[in-house]
């Protein structure tokens, strides 16, 4: 892992793989010193925003290096099940580029345990990492409006659009689950570190 500079109020930890990043984020989040105000996980990095009155950049860097040495935190993570109708407009095409039938894609997508690596793009839009073999490119052209509840695949992730927005993911299904509600105490149904399963709706 490497620690990279990010101005006078943050440092960026960079890891080699998504799995390593997810493990490091869990370890960091569980042992956050006062003065580390925010941890923002992403695909290969964790950004630590600090209050320089409480912790120095140097001390935050040292904490990132030391914590990285701790092995993946064991324990049971929170989990959520999302019911999905596998009726997305890109289902057949996505199965074709993966070299499998639509039924096999559905069975592998719904049979896997996914883990939330990070949230980005929009409030509550979780990037879920799962089994190898379901990696697909984004659509060549983004859609102007992807309906809320659309379940998609892109790169090494699956994700669910919490609300209607433009988007380039391959859409394989739809859910009625509410992913984001800012009036709830926990506004995002899925948070980094949580495990997610998809249940096939007829």
């Amino acid at each position: 892992m490497r620690v990279l500079p990010f101005g006078d109020r943050a440092v960026l930890a960079e890891y080699d793989t998504l799995a390593e990043t997810m493990d490091a984020f869990r370890a960091l989040d569980a042992a956050r010193p006062s003065g580390v105000q925010e941890l923002v996980p992403a695909a290969r990095t964790v950004l630590a925003r600090i209050d320089p009155a409480l912790i120095s950049l140097r001390a935050a860097e040292q904490w990132l290096r030391d914590t990285q040495a701790i092995h993946a935190v064991t324990g049971i993570s929170e989990s959520v099940t999302i019911p999905v109708r596998y009726d997305g407009p890109d289902l057949a095409y996505t199965a074709e580029i993966l070299g499998m039938s639509a039924d096999e894609l559905i069975s592998r997508h719904s049979g896997a345990e996914w883990r939330c690596a990070f949230i980005g793009f929009a409030p509550g839009f979780a990037y879920l990492a799962g089994p190898i073999g379901l990696e697909v490119p984004r659509r060549a052209t983004s859609r102007q409006a992807v309906p809320a509840g659309s379940v998609g695949l892109a790169g090494e992730f699956t994700g669910i659009y919490p609300r209607s927005s433009p988007g380039g993911w391959q859409l394989i299904g739809t859910t009625d689950a509410v992913l984001w509600d800012e009036t709830r105490e926990h506004p995002s149904t899925i948070a980094p570190g949580m495990t997610v399963r998809f249940e096939v709706l007829p």
């Binding site: 006078d8 923002v40 992403a42 695909a43 950004l47 409030p123 800012e182 506004p187």
Partner: protein, 289 residues
């Protein structure tokens, strides 16, 4: 409880407080006032708590009235501001009489006025803040003409007896911003760094609360690779594939896939928020660490 009425809402007037930091891992940025020091000063002048909400008034051309006497303070941008036709000085608490119109003319120095009203703007908080996040669409919608804005109860603190606040008008000349190298400086050529630190740069009119675009020579990459999305913060200077830098501002996306060549210091963010389209800027390397 009586409300403040936005007689003319102006082109883009938003309710802002100090934002909702700490939710980036859920995809929500901090938002909050672009010029935090100006909002904090306005609140202090009328005896509000530092986290009270005020109005961020872009460019001016906005007017307000209330049917009760009200202490107000205007900070940030400088321009013609009048109460009942009387000019009121910036950075001073003023009693707006019931029925009088408070009029913000076109800003001449800076671009964002802040209006604090004693009691604070009492819009419903979302995720702990009354700030409008223009990118995520969270928080109170931009004001519209004729809208009534609820005002909170009278705070306990009195109006502080301040005669003069030594805050200069935002400059109309060149603005110097301090920066430090960013995480992806090594994705750019040495020449790109020299251009960033020495070229004549200007703020683009295509700037808003999510990012301030900079016009100048293209910053050339030495690494053409694709960057996996990583966490972003206000002040990060992201460079798009055509070499154009954008300084992310408070309503930025929480993650981004363009490399960050440098990050401006926290202190420089307030100055950046008042830079007008077309105004020249210069970067200087921050000292110490």
């Amino acid at each position: 409880m009586s409300s403040l009425v936005a007689v003319q809402a102006g082109p883009n007037t938003l309710v802002q407080d100090l934002g909702r930091p700490g939710l980036a891992h859920l995809g929500v940025g901090s938002a909050g006032a672009m010029d935090r020091a100006a909002l904090a000063l306005a609140n202090r002048l009328v005896g509000n708590a530092p986290d009270a909400a005020g109005l961020e008034i872009l460019f001016g051309n906005a007017s307000f009235a209330r049917d009760a006497d009200t202490w107000i303070a205007a900070t940030g941008a400088w321009g013609s501001v009048t109460a009942g036709g009387r000019a009121i000085p910036p950075n001073t608490a003023t009693l707006l009489a019931a029925g009088e119109t408070l009029l913000f003319g076109q800003a001449a120095n800076g671009i964002r006025y802040y209006l604090a009203v004693r009691g604070g703007i009492d819009a419903p908080p979302v995720l702990g803040s009354r700030s409008r996040d223009t990118l995520a669409g969270i928080g109170p919608a931009p004001l519209v003409d004729g809208q009534s804005i609820p005002i909170g109860p009278e705070p306990e603190a009195p109006i502080p007896p301040v005669d003069l606040v030594p805050v200069d008008a935002p400059t109309t000349g060149e603005v110097t911003l301090e920066l430090r190298p960013g995480p992806r400086r090594d994705w750019f050529t040495e020449e790109a760094w020299d251009v960033l630190m020495s070229a004549n740069l200007r703020v683009s009119p295509r700037s808003d609360r999510s990012g301030i675009r900079i016009e100048g020579p293209a910053l050339k990459r030495s690494n053409a690779g694709e960057l996996p999305s990583e966490g972003m913060l206000p002040g990060a200077i992201q460079v798009s594939p055509d070499g154009a830098p954008t300084i992310l501002a408070v309503d930025h996306p929480v993650t981004g896939g363009y490399p960050v060549i440098a990050v401006i210091t926290d202190e420089s963010l307030d100055a950046l928020s008042q830079v007008r389209p077309g105004q020249p800027i210069r970067f200087r390397l921050a000292t110490g660490r």
